[in-house]
Subunit: 360 residues, 2 copies
Amino acid sequence: MKNAIPTPALLVDLPAMERNINRMAEHFAARPCKLRPHFKAHKTPEIARRQLAAGSCIGLTCATVAEAEVVSLLTDDVLVANEIVDIDQCERLARLAVRVKVRVAVDSQAGVSRVAEAAVVNGVTIGMLVDLDVGQHRCGVSPGAEALALARLVDAASGVALHGVMGYGGHLQPVRNRGERESRTREAMIPLIATAELLRSSGLPCEVVSGGGTGTYDIDGDLPGITEVQAGSYVLMDSDYGELDLPFEQALSVLGTVVSRKGERCVTDCGHKTMTMDHGLPLVKGLPGASVAALNDEHAIVTVPLDCELVVGDRLELLPSHIDPTINLHDAIFAMDGDSLVSVWPIVARGYADERAALD
Amino acid sequence: MKNAIPTPALLVDLPAMERNINRMAEHFAARPCKLRPHFKAHKTPEIARRQLAAGSCIGLTCATVAEAEVVSLLTDDVLVANEIVDIDQCERLARLAVRVKVRVAVDSQAGVSRVAEAAVVNGVTIGMLVDLDVGQHRCGVSPGAEALALARLVDAASGVALHGVMGYGGHLQPVRNRGERESRTREAMIPLIATAELLRSSGLPCEVVSGGGTGTYDIDGDLPGITEVQAGSYVLMDSDYGELDLPFEQALSVLGTVVSRKGERCVTDCGHKTMTMDHGLPLVKGLPGASVAALNDEHAIVTVPLDCELVVGDRLELLPSHIDPTINLHDAIFAMDGDSLVSVWPIVARGYADERAALD
C-alpha cells in the first residue's frame, strides 16, 4: 500500500519502467548500432539487470569508478565514459580490468600515463576511447588532428589499448524542436565519425564509436559509423526530458506527506534534499491545477486550488525535473505496481565516502 | 596529506571550525538566551559533540526524525523544529521520548493528534512548540488568536505537553544589509514574543520561545523573551552566508581533481552531485582570477587565467554556496589541519532509505 511507505520516498512505476526498457531494446534490436545503458542515471543494480535482460545491450556505461565497481558485477563489458586521473581511482580501475573488459575515456597525455601506469602494475590492459569535444565544451579534445595525436599516444603506451573514440553531445539532448535536434546532432557527430575514419586510415584501431543520450538516441543510433549509444534517462524519465517528443513514460516520482496546509499553500516533507532543482522545479502528479512554488531544504511548497481536499497527513507525488542527481539523493527505490509495493531496491555507489583513506 | 585524499571529497578546516564554534559559544555565554545548534546543517555527530562541549548550548535542533534518532545519542534535550505527521515517524519520535526530552513543532490539529496518539501508545509525553509563521510563509499558524487556539488544543491533549512557541525567519537570514536585517527581524519576531505572552496571560505554559539562525543569531538572541537560537550554518559557513558581515570563517570545501584542461577551461571531478547550486555556484578557493562557470552532474567547469599552471591531476578546492544540502550529498568529512588529515568523520541520517518498509 502506497500510504504505508514512510516519506519522503522515491517511487518507480514498474509497468511504465518495463515499457520504457522494452521500447528502447526493440528500437536497437534490428540495428547494427547497439545500446550501452548509462548506470549513472539510476545507480540501481536491479534496473540495470532488467535493461540487460531486455536485450540489444552490449554492456553498461558509467561515470565514476565507484559505479564501475558495481557495474562489473552485472556485465563483463564496462565503459567509464569519463576521464579518470586520480591515482587511487586509476588503481581501482586497473583492479577491475582483472575480471572484466574495462574501457575509459581519455583526453590528455596525463590521463593516458596515469591509467597506463596502474594497468602495468596490475598486469592488465585497459581499453581507451579518445574523448572528443563534439560541442558541449566540457571534456574532450578537438576532432581531427588533435584526436589523432592523442590516439597515437594511447596506441604506443603499455597497459592501455586504443579501442576507439567517443563524444557526448550533452548540449543537444534537451533541444526541444525535433528538426533542430536532428540537424544539430548530425552536425556535431559527423566530426566524431570522421575522426574514427581518420584513425583507421592512419593505421590505428578504432572499433568503437560511442555517443548519444536519451534525447538523441534514435538520431545518433542511425548515423552510419556510430557503434553504441549511451542513453540513461529513458528508463525512468524526468519532467525535463518529458518536454521532448520521446516515446518514454514518466516512471519516477517522489512521494511526500502533507505536513502543513493553509489556504492554497500546501507544504510536503520532500524538499531539495530529496530531489534537485537544476533542471527546474518538479511537477505535481495527478492533481490538476496544482504546481510547485518552491523547494526548500526539507519542504516542497505546493500551490493547490482552494477547493482541493488535501489535508495534513495526506500523500502527494512529485515528478522530478532531473533523474540522475535526484536518485543520487536516495538510498532505495520503492518499486510500485499501481498502489502495491512490489519490491524495495537499493541504490548504490552514491555519495562520496572514503573512510579507506589512511590517516597520516 | 591533502593530495592523498581520493576525490571528490568534503573537507573541513578544523582550526577555522573550532574558532567558529568558540565564537558562537562565547557570544551566548553571558546572555540569558541560549544556543540550540541545528544538526541539519552538518549531520555530523563529531561536530555536534564539539558544539555541545564548547558550552552555552541547551540541547540540539534537528529537522527530521532520522536526525533526532542520532541527536538523542548526543544530548538529552532534542528539538525537532519541523512538523512531524507521518504515522511511522510519529511512532519513532515517541520511542525516542522514552529516553530523552523530545519537543516537536506543530501547526495543525492533525499534527497534534497524530503525535499525541503515538505518545499515548508508548506511554510518553512529547513536548510541543506551536510553530508560528513569522513571515517566511512556509509552515506555521498566524501569531495571536490562531496560535492561542492551537496551543489550547495541545494543552488539552493527552501524551503531549505545551512547552512554548517557535518561529523561523528563514527569509531574514540572507538579508545583506545589517540595518535592514535588524529591523526586519525585530518586526518579525515581536509577534512571536507577543504570542508567548498571550499564551501565558491565558493561563497556558510557555517556557520556550525558539527562533533564529546564523544570519540573525545576535539579533534574535538579544530580543527579550527569546529563550533559544537554532543557528546551524555558522559552524562551517558557506559562500552565501559569507556575503554577510558575520564573525564566522569559511571552513567547508569540496576537494576535486582536475580531469581535463584546455586553455582557460579547467574541468574537475566535483559536480553538483557533490555540492548544490540552490544558493548559486561555488567559489574557487585560493586561486585568484578563477571562477566556476558551471556545475554539471559529475563535473565543475572552472575558468582559470590562461597562465594558470593547473594541469590534469592537480587538486582544486571549491567553497560551496549552501552547506546543508551539500553535506547531505556526502558520507564523510575529512577533517584537515592545513595540509594534514586529522580524522575522517562519518555523516549520518542523510538520504532517505527505508528498507524497513514491509512488502505487502
